[in-house]
Symmetry: C2
Subunit: 353 residues, 2 copies
């Protein structure tokens, strides 16, 4: 769709836009920050007869962003696509077109430390649920007055993270964030007020955490200097997708990792070692699980950087099984609260990185 020229010199006679290159060849793992980042490569898009449409679309999306910031409004990526239907010949025919332009704008803004959400383009999905020792500080959309939301006060319910969290502030004396994979486990820990006995904040990620959930965890952890512990199922998908994405982000989306991954996270469990130690009921690994694990061990820099993770994944493949966090119920419904978590939390330095 665009005329792409990597590192092309700007021609001063032709209007052009310059974006960071999003191709994998321009992505580097940065050990200092602990995640995959865009390199310095740039893509120039010169205005020509062939590019006039996409050039105009880019400027239009940027103009809408400006308008939305002024009016304190927002649009989902889907809505942005539909809004273009009134642009005459300049309209997007498919959402994949508007998404590509949006990703470039997002990459550009990220260099200035601005997330897409700050440009007021929101994800379709909101964040997970939160309960525990935390006051979220939001602002009334009309008056701008601060609004305190006490996450200890929702009984069996919880606080649902909004689609964008950049404007939120936090007050807490909690010691850590526990990011929990399943809704059932979150409800158990919430109903038994685990967050009070262990002075922590519970966040349900519901499988792979959404953008909003990841950003919320990252911002909360950064702002309040909180450790982040992940409590997931033990299987190749849970490790190489759910946890890895939370911790270091992905190469394909390097332009957002700066905001959306949580390099300070560590892995409480369930570990392959736990399966043996706690004699957990298991299910056999499927062929697709084994393939995923082997692919990850061979190709994913995450496992090259973190030798302990490589060893753990190899151990899991050798064991040929997987286990869910609910499997701890084998020893009683609240064994997880009375035994497993307290024992684990006595040795956080031993957590997988």
């Amino acid at each position: 769709m665009f005329e792409k020229k990597e590192n092309a010199p700007a021609n001063p006679n032709v209007p052009s836009l310059r974006f960071p290159t999003r191709a994998l060849s321009n992505v580097k793992y940065d050990a200092k920050v602990g995640y995959f980042e865009l390199g310095r490569g740039q893509t120039a898009r010169a205005l020509s007869v062939n590019t006039v449409k996409s050039f105009a679309q880019t400027l239009r999306l940027m103009a809408i962003s400006k308008e939305m910031v002024e009016n304190n409004d927002f649009a989902t990526k889907r809505e942005a696509y539909y809004v273009s239907k009134n642009w005459g010949e300049c309209k997007f025919n498919e959402q994949v077109e508007s998404d590509t332009v949006m990703d470039d704008i997002e990459a550009l803004a990220s260099l200035e430390g601005l997330s897409r959400e700050q440009l007021r383009y929101y994800p379709e999905e909101h964040g997970g649920s939160v309960a525990g020792s935390l006051v979220v500080i939001d602002a009334d959309a009309e008056t701008g007055k601060p609004l305190e939301i006490d996450c200890t006060g929702f009984g069996s319910g919880s606080y649902s993270i909004p689609h964008s969290v950049e404007h939120l502030g936090f007050k807490t004396d909690a010691k850590f964030i526990l990011a929990i994979e399943t809704g059932g486990m979150f409800q158990r820990l919430n109903n038994h007020k685990f967050w009070r006995s262990f002075n922590c904040i519970l966040i349900e990620t519901a499988g792979v955490p959404t953008r909003a959930t990841r950003r919320f965890i990252r911002k909360l952890s950064d702002d309040c200097k909180l450790a982040v512990y992940a409590f997931n199922d033990c299987d190749p998908y849970g490790i190489s997708n759910i946890y890895r994405t939370l911790k270091v982000g992905s190469g394909n989306a390097a332009h957002i990792n700066r905001f959306f991954c949580v390099p300070q996270a560590s892995f409480l469990g369930v570990t392959p070692q736990d399966i043996t130690e706690y004699k957990l009921p298991t299910h056999p690994l499927k062929d697709v699980d084994v393939k995923r694990a082997k692919d990850a061990l061979k190709n994913d820099p995450f496992f090259k950087i973190h030798k302990r993770w490589a060893a753990a994944m190899e151990q899991l493949v050798k064991m040929g099984v997987r286990a869910e966090q609910q499997a701890l119920a084998r020893w009683g419904l609240n064994y997880v609260i009375d035994e497993y978590l307290p024992r684990k939390l006595k040795a956080v330095d031993a957590f997988l990185p």
Copy 2:
């Protein structure tokens, strides 16, 4: 797994359990209540050498339920399966076995007006998000003290419905519940405080509403005499699955419909008529959409009972297109708030049933 004898006479010399028959042949659409209900057919399970294991499993699951009620605890269906791993020879080998027993227990309890959640077996998934003119009354899990949760106080965030809602109470002066299919639309209406200008309660269903969401809507509507309007995408799946399940439940799960469907719901939009009237951008129906629509028209009693729905679905198939609720953004991001919803809400009697 069970020796099933429909309507078998009880043999007084052999211990037996009697459950409502869950087969489709025993399901009737009850026009008075407005949904599919179990008929009076019963299945007897006599204790014999062949059934001793499942007989024992059934009694064990019932005994755990009693314990959980006494201890104010709960288990997800998944946890219940794992708990059985300590039952020796009596353990479940697959979750499908424990689910079958659980469904029968649920059907039995439903005849007494008790939901599975009241037996303390919770679904894995929590409910959707809530914002607006509503105070939810929960109770502190330890002290039992009432706890008031004001759903106008969550800023850009919202209240996340717990896994079980039977114990909740409500205070509201709202006029209706708006059940919204997509998270993006929910966030728009919440950020612009649509719930205040129209004195209503917004509930995000996020596609097919979970058990907890459906029960929450039903209970809130019953307790506070509130109308329920659904605001969905316009496509065969949205109509014949998402909306239909909300309104009348399903034949396959007739034993839960009494609690989990909302016969008082009506359909605000997007209707096939809206697509024409509001000149919405559309996508062509796929073959699978057309097949789904034709199957529903031919076989689903919902469309036989509601002629207006049959006509609307036929119109959609004839048009050959589908439209999303976000498509209204074609006329501006907040057209839905400024024009579409106010116009629609002036003629609620015209809503599809």
